[in-house]
Symmetry: C2
Subunit: 427 residues, 2 copies
Amino acid sequence: MTDLSKETSIFEKKVSRRGVLKAAGIGGVGAVLGASGLGGVLALSDATVTKGQSNDIVPFYGANQAGITTSPQDNLYIVSLEVTTDSKQDLIQLFKEWTEASALMTSGNTVGDTSTNGNLPPKDTGEAVGLSPSNLTITFGVGPSLFVKDGKDRFGLRSKQPAELVDLPKFPLDALKKEWTGGDLCIQACADDLQVAFHAVRNLVRMARGKAVIHWAQTGFQRTKNADAQKVTPRNLLGFKDGTVNPDVTSKSALQKSVWVQKGDGPDWLVGGSYMVVRRIQMYIEVWDRSTLNDQEATFGRHRDSGAPLGKQNEFDSADFEAVDETGRLVIPETAHMRVARGDGKHSILRRSYSYTDGMDTKTGSLDAGLVFICFQRRPSTQFIPMQQRLAKNDKLNEYIVHRGSALFACLPGVQKGGYIGETLFD
Amino acid sequence: MTDLSKETSIFEKKVSRRGVLKAAGIGGVGAVLGASGLGGVLALSDATVTKGQSNDIVPFYGANQAGITTSPQDNLYIVSLEVTTDSKQDLIQLFKEWTEASALMTSGNTVGDTSTNGNLPPKDTGEAVGLSPSNLTITFGVGPSLFVKDGKDRFGLRSKQPAELVDLPKFPLDALKKEWTGGDLCIQACADDLQVAFHAVRNLVRMARGKAVIHWAQTGFQRTKNADAQKVTPRNLLGFKDGTVNPDVTSKSALQKSVWVQKGDGPDWLVGGSYMVVRRIQMYIEVWDRSTLNDQEATFGRHRDSGAPLGKQNEFDSADFEAVDETGRLVIPETAHMRVARGDGKHSILRRSYSYTDGMDTKTGSLDAGLVFICFQRRPSTQFIPMQQRLAKNDKLNEYIVHRGSALFACLPGVQKGGYIGETLFD
């Protein structure tokens, strides 16, 4: 494993993914320079060029982590990890390495020099060489079990565990599988290229060897741009738009109210962080596909094509929850997903979900497909949990879905250059 | 299920995916027109507009099926089906519906009008509404078991089964799982958007209800464009370029020699078709990641970054298989993948593979990731089969991979408008 602490700085050796490709293309100049020991210099200048030219880089450093209020990318790769080391120092070292590597990868660089010293394993696994940064974001979270597991204060962090960071309750109709539930740590990588997201997670997991192992891993996809390349609300695999009612991510006050943990909410180390709920929701798409359009629209409470609330014309029109049709029945039914999810309308969550498909469900013979539901919030106890309690009881959508996986993580606050993700928790 | 035979023509009702979105956006004009029965007219003109504007449509009709020599797209969704009907007429009807639907979807249209008659299930499942055609191709194949299964001539097609269309032999080191092997029919959808490829397969599978069921299903990904949006040879998850040595798809004679079935090769119905081999190859990426760069490059016989043959500078330089280093050893080792795959260099295949990742391999605790190896050829008995026999015996790459799935399909010849895929086989 790369021991970054023994190197002057990984940043001085960085090689841009584009730089490697370009160098290799020009009659092997890169290889020649690499052999003469000048590869690092070439790479450094090239990396600068890449950054100057790329308009698909999301900054890694900042007050909050990226990948939460970032405009959703097209692909997700999310993994949950179990920590195997007993050493807090190991954990700190891992987060330091993850921070440096994430800063490199999100800016379109490889994790380390890819071309020198053939007698060692390459520092970077190479499959993203030449690819665009693809708006890659990498978001880290910690689960309840990192603090206390089987009653044991694993890393002396028990006093720092927020009251909100506890296992989600079992909801009615939950059919959770252990292999899709929980975890000590979480890495969410999102990018407009799955190969870039995969590369990021794989290299971070590789650095964790001997310290943590994968618990579950899930890819997701969606399309956030329409045929005219305009950003649109993506559709889920039931054909409906998903994420229309979200807090305004450009409004600082909306995010303070609903997404970012604030001073006084709990321990200070999480201020500027956010709680992430992940639910693996299988959709019975073949059952759904046999239901009528009217049924489908009544299930969501929205028109399928436009995404408008029933009775309205446009996606972002406000819903009229009191409206009745000529027979006196509610236009948006009592059990419509959007009505039940809304509740009293006082608490919102930031949805950031992806579709998944994982071959065939051998038990049913249908496609195993559905939603990796992901949402961020300031306080699960007043946001996701009561919402899901209402949905599990009353949502008409329950005829077509089942929750197979569940996890809650506290996404750490962002860091500035020179710091590391997790420093407020571990220091 | 949609019975297209009872309609004047599905083409007269087509609604473009972009058209639906646009109509819905303009104050719900589409919904109003739809209710008045004019939706079809609106849609038809809009569909024309879409086609005129889109530069990401691959024509569905032609002498050969698309998706074989088509420049590889970024995403794959491939399914194998088992036919459950005993009726040849059912099969013919299915292929007719598949043909019409495929022509619509590949040109960016929905399978049917999405907005009318709420009392019926929508003809199109809707998740691709508004999305670009994304260079979607849909390629159909038939497996050996469609002809004869358990000794039974299922559809009176026994006399038409080509001698080449038989189960692949068991190769040394094969560790095939039944759930990833074989199948009566195959649908390969490729697109630059996984949501578009998923949508295509899902809607085709839906039409097969009562006639066929899914046997296996697999997504794949790769990145075929570099950071400068130029088409490049994609890299596999071992970090190496995959598909450098392919027949020239712009050369008619090269394709006649290696890819398209020719008159006299076997039954006439397959002339203009091609044999597709699919192998699900799991990669032990964590073992690979611990090997040195020198080992990795010796395994493939290529430089990782440039893709050049060992000892050369550029990806497309010819390999020197005789070259030795200063110690007298072959520069491209005897067991290098590219040397063993090449054999005597007289037979080539058209590689068109994708990477896959499917969560965790619960047996090993590693990521289940690897290659959906796909290749096309004129004659498996002289192309893929002897190549794989050599590889299974001598390839150094075998330390890092294992074959978990296998299938052979005869991809049907292309059709012209008015015909249907499979007509030469069934008529």
